[in-house]
Symmetry: C2
Subunit: 657 residues, 2 copies
């Protein structure tokens, strides 16, 4: 019997279609303009740092120069190429969902350009080809060569799958072959890896489409070699006659920044640059699945647990410090100096998705949902043309402006960044969201995410379709309709989110009392066309607390309704949001505002605000006196909607009365 | 009639004599070893930054090389010379108080060495003489040339005053003359100033001892020129053919970092590097006094008010961010990422002292006392050989270790720093503490600080002595005895600290009800030998709150008893100090522990601690539940005593129940 698998998933959900339409109609054309330096925009540095380039993208021009089609110098970050690759990958998903001949022609041209920039041995990287050919693979801790290669491979595979462009796949294979030839344990090969993980998961993706074992083995080599010699990078630098750095400001970073402080199987905690960690974990989880590698899976579980139980914000953001865009310590989750990079939460979704291939646990879906509905879509403005790199939970405009240590906490979404990894990453995730909705394991279909759409599955020798119908994330009712023929014995797993205080499950009108196991209720039966499942999740807005070990959230609460975390903004609630006090017994009033934020569910609640007593006057410190409060009506908006109405204060963790 | 003036002040106070003895016996010999690279210590970087030198001090060796007495290269920061100057200044004060022939011989030798390193035109700076003679005065925003010159002038004047070493004064004058010749509004002169203020106040000090108007005028030029052209530094850099930086990592700093964003008379708020601001303000206040410059005095009052009512920690620390060691925004006073440099609080004392020359307001004395008893002496360990650069109000060891953004928050005091401005600055302040105790204005003697000792004043044609006797800061009783002869009509001003809830003043056994004006009770009368004044300040430990606009201190209280701010440490109170709750009605128990921290007043109080509920288990977020508390006895120690018992948690702002 053939294994069960997903045939295709089509999203028709109003919430997500708005995003996908925005990306197709606005973001992809806009990003193409930016990559070609044709957009009339201000490119911002993601934080105050002299070395970050911000004049232009130059990304397409770099390819033209490398291809010999234009004269000039390389400009931008050493990993500038990856912006093009991620855009291309998003285009691939877009074409797969809704064909567009002009867009394909444009993308075909990009593939041609990339192939022209590629060297005869398969090597591909415009910075090294144009500016430093003698330094190839010699400074891997900063070079991002394999990182860029990985993004091209992912893009090319996606593009091949979307429109069967064989040139894309061929050039990706040539690039992978160049890497396979250069790296490994054998004589004359580099026994090392890239400072920024990405190639590992890309090679596994290439293996999935080509079935070439060498790609899987190369990925496996990178993963197992990583951290075996924590001094590998240092030794490479010592051996490099050229002492100039490729990226400034990284000299002081420790081995854990790159996750090379110890072998990956021995890593117990998520350390260093957050995006790197979750990209690493994604490839570890994929390899564990493909090779039934139990040790690797155990390492993934450990790192997952460390992240989600000790180092993740309630919005699914990760990365507690701007210095190194990194994890710090357990329960260290400052709200106003944090990083919470959009890319890191995207990577956390990759990791969760890869773990769901290994084992069906609702917590992977819960975190995927948390990151998606909060941090990830916070990463873009409602216009689809402005983006956050950093997604803080507490913002005071004056501090961002006047504290250079908070220069990364932007007040509104910039049009583009000097290091612009996040905007195209957002595009490729949201345009491929259909692949995250379901996971099929053995004979069970698991619904990870809830959104209106239709999915088709191969069940051995025949097919089954499942339709979801829901007003999620605003409404907790999700209806499933099964359309099947033939022998339809399969399990249908429904994730019961940990945030739901209760739920109600009906199958063909009858109450179903099957208990959830590991966060999924799995219904095993012989299904017939027209079978109806109705899941109703309790969507009442509730107050959430952080573990008492989180210093920054002591005596504070966050408001969550369904998967949506809420925040308050100054524009609705006045200045000094820290003076607002929420009663634990507060009753929330919910209403859907079709005309606001492209349609969003809003909350109001009665609260209190400390009165600025007159006796404070000009004094900074006084003997403690009891504080007086006055009642206020608090207006909460979904976190992802913040900063769409100009600069103002924002707060997620509200003080308790 | 001659003006009233201070003749001499001798401190015999047990609290302060312990420090002065420690400095004389331990710190000065130790620092001399360090400056000569003879101490077997680990020199630490004040924060993680690749560019900070930390191999050795090399400061004396730099002078030997510049003097032609040794071969080699300059090593260390571009302002390394100033470490020697500040040490020399402390030695001068030490000799003035207690003569030591061997120490004078050593210091005489240092003066000789410095004079040998000085160029024939008076120019003095070992970095530029040895490493970059062609770059003199060409890159003032980073060069610290005038900053170092200022420190030498201050040291030389102090040394001249202490032991009448004319060579010291002569070389200081030669250096000042070199600066007077190079800078000014005239043709061929540099119309600019140093990036780091210090020369301004040093020239005024030199003016006071030489009465040479040119030094005062040069200082006045620097002050009035500052910020007239905010682009001055940028223009200098553009004109400099050598593009290499003198200090790495400063490229991104804005004009306000250097207080050159606008003319000083127009500066309304304290902006940029905190030490620079208070050094600038000190010279502005001194100039205002010397020149009766009302506009300058008004500017000083504005900046003072901004600092102490909006940008100062309750410990008298200033500087809210490590990035630029700088002020940020009004009421932005984070406790765990702050800077609070020891030197900045020392400079705040300079500023307060200079303001007391202009006008007798108790708040200047209050802030002087606050900074002195808390942040400044927190800057050194009980052994006199370990020092803090940064003085935070909240410390969690794991965060300092694992968050590179908190690498400046040290857990114990290092032996020395790569940039070691603070240790010798501490020495020179504490060894000259006698000059801060009293201010004489017109016919009134103001007691700014309370400590046991004897002071002599010139009252026109005769003298008066005043003896203070107190167990301050542990006891609130201060006895004054007047010893006078002749016509003794003068005012005696006693500062009534703002922290004192009440006070009781007796003159010769009779209750005195004179009301304080601007924080001073001034007793005008004809004094006789044997007159006794007894001031009793209410020393009850009290809870203090921060202005509600300070986000970080919301729902928190600090404990202060007399001038001493208290903190709690993990070693006394267990882990997770943020879970401790203090009741507003809490009663404190005070006891003096002679055997602890070299003798210190300690507090205990009944409090509560949140119980780590079992149901939290491994979860990071849960629906909010009410928290359970259990009673604990809280042990508080003076803030300045923290981190003397190994690495552990520390907290000043306690959470309120």
């Amino acid at each position: 019997m053939r294994e069960f698998s997903i045939e295709q998933v089509k999203i028709t959900d109003p919430f997500w279609c708005r995003y996908m339409k925005l990306i197709r109609q606005e973001m992809l054309p806009y990003q193409w303009q930016v990559l070609n330096d044709q957009a009339d925009i201000v490119i911002e540095k993601e934080r105050d740092a002299a070395h970050i380039p911000s004049e232009k993208s130059h990304a397409i021009e770099n390819f033209k120069i490398a291809a010999g089609l234009a004269a000039g110098e390389h400009y931008g970050m050493v990993f500038q190429d990856s912006d093009v690759y991620k855009w291309l990958e998003a285009v691939a998903y877009s074409l797969q969902q809704s064909y567009d001949a002009a867009l394909q022609e444009l993308a075909d041209g990009v593939i041609d350009l990339i192939a022209q920039a590629q060297e005869s041995d398969g090597y591909l990287n415009t910075y090294f080809t144009v500016a430093a050919p003698e330094r190839k693979f010699k400074r891997l801790y900063q070079s991002h060569e394999l990182y860029c290669a990985g993004h091209y491979i992912e893009a090319a595979v996606a593009y091949y799958e979307a429109v069967h462009n064989k040139k894309a796949l061929a050039s990706a294979r040539a690039l992978a072959d160049c890497i396979v030839a250069a790296f490994g344990a054998g004589p004359g090969k580099i026994k090392g890896y890239d400072g920024h993980e990405e190639i590992e998961l890309a090679l596994l993706r290439l293996y999935e489409v080509t079935s070439e074992e060498k790609y899987l083995e190369c990925s496996r080599f990178f993963l197992y070699e990583r951290g075996q010699d924590p001094e590998f990078f240092k030794k490479q630098v010592a051996a490099d006659p050229d002492k100039s750095v490729l990226i400034e400001g990284m000299e002081g970073f420790s081995t854990s920044y790159y996750q090379v402080h110890k072998p990956v199987l021995e890593q117990e905690t998520a350390e260093g640059h957050a995006v790197r960690v979750v990209y690493l974990c994604t490839s570890m989880a994929k390899l564990a699945f493909l090779k039934h590698d139990e040790k690797m899976l155990a390492a993934c579980r450990r790192l997952w647990k460390n992240i989600v139980t000790k180092r993740m914000y309630i919005t699914g953001a990760i990365g507690s410090t701007v210095t190194g865009e990194a994890f710090t310590a357990d329960y260290d989750l400052p709200n106003d100096t944090m990083y919470g990079e959009t890319c890191a939460s995207i990577g956390l979704i990759f990791f969760a998705h890869a773990m769901l291939q290994n084992e069906s646990k609702g917590e992977y879906g819960d975190v995927m949902e948390k990151a998606l509905y909060n941090t990830v879509i916070s990463g873009m403005a409602l216009d689809g043309k402005h983006f956050f790199y950093v997604n803080p939970l507490e913002v005071v405009p004056e501090c961002s402006k006047k504290d250079p240590g908070k220069s990364h906490i932007k007040l509104t979404r910039p049009a583009w960044f000097g290091c612009s990894c996040c905007p195209p990453n957002l595009a490729r995730l949201l345009m491929s969201l259909n692949s995250y909705v379901y996971t099929v394991r053995d004979t069970t279909i698991y619904a990870n995410l809830y959104m209106t759409g239709k999915a088709e599955f191969n069940l051995g020798d025949h097919k089954v379709a499942i339709e979801q119908q829901t007003q999620y994330p605003w409404d907790g009712e999700i209806h499933f309709t099964v359309m099947a023929e033939g022998n339809n014995s399969f399990g249908l797993g429904l994730r019961i989110p940990a945030w739901a205080a209760s739920y109600h499950l009906m199958v063909n009108g009858e109450l179903c009392l099957t208990a959830p196991v590991d966060g999924f209720v799995v219904l095993h039966r012989r299904w017939r066309t027209g079978d109806e499942i109705s899941l109703e999740l309790d969507m009442e807005a509730r107050l959430w607390a952080a573990n008492p070990k989180v210093r920054e959230d002591v005596d504070r609460v966050a408001v969550q309704r369904g998967p949506i975390v809420y925040c308050i903004e100054g524009v609705d609630n006045g200045a000094d949001l820290h003076l607002i006090r929420l009663n634990e017994a507060a009753e929330f009033h919910y209403g859907f505002a079709a005309e606001k934020f492209g349609g969003a569910g809003l909350l109001t609640v009665a609260a209190e605000k400390a009165v600025g007593k007159k006796e404070w006057g000009e004094s900074l410190y006084q003997p403690a006196v009891s504080i007086e409060y006055q009642p206020v009506e608090l207006h909460l908006i979904p976190y992802y909607c913040w900063a769409n109405r100009g600069e103002n204060e924002m707060l997620v963790w509200l003080h308790k009365k």
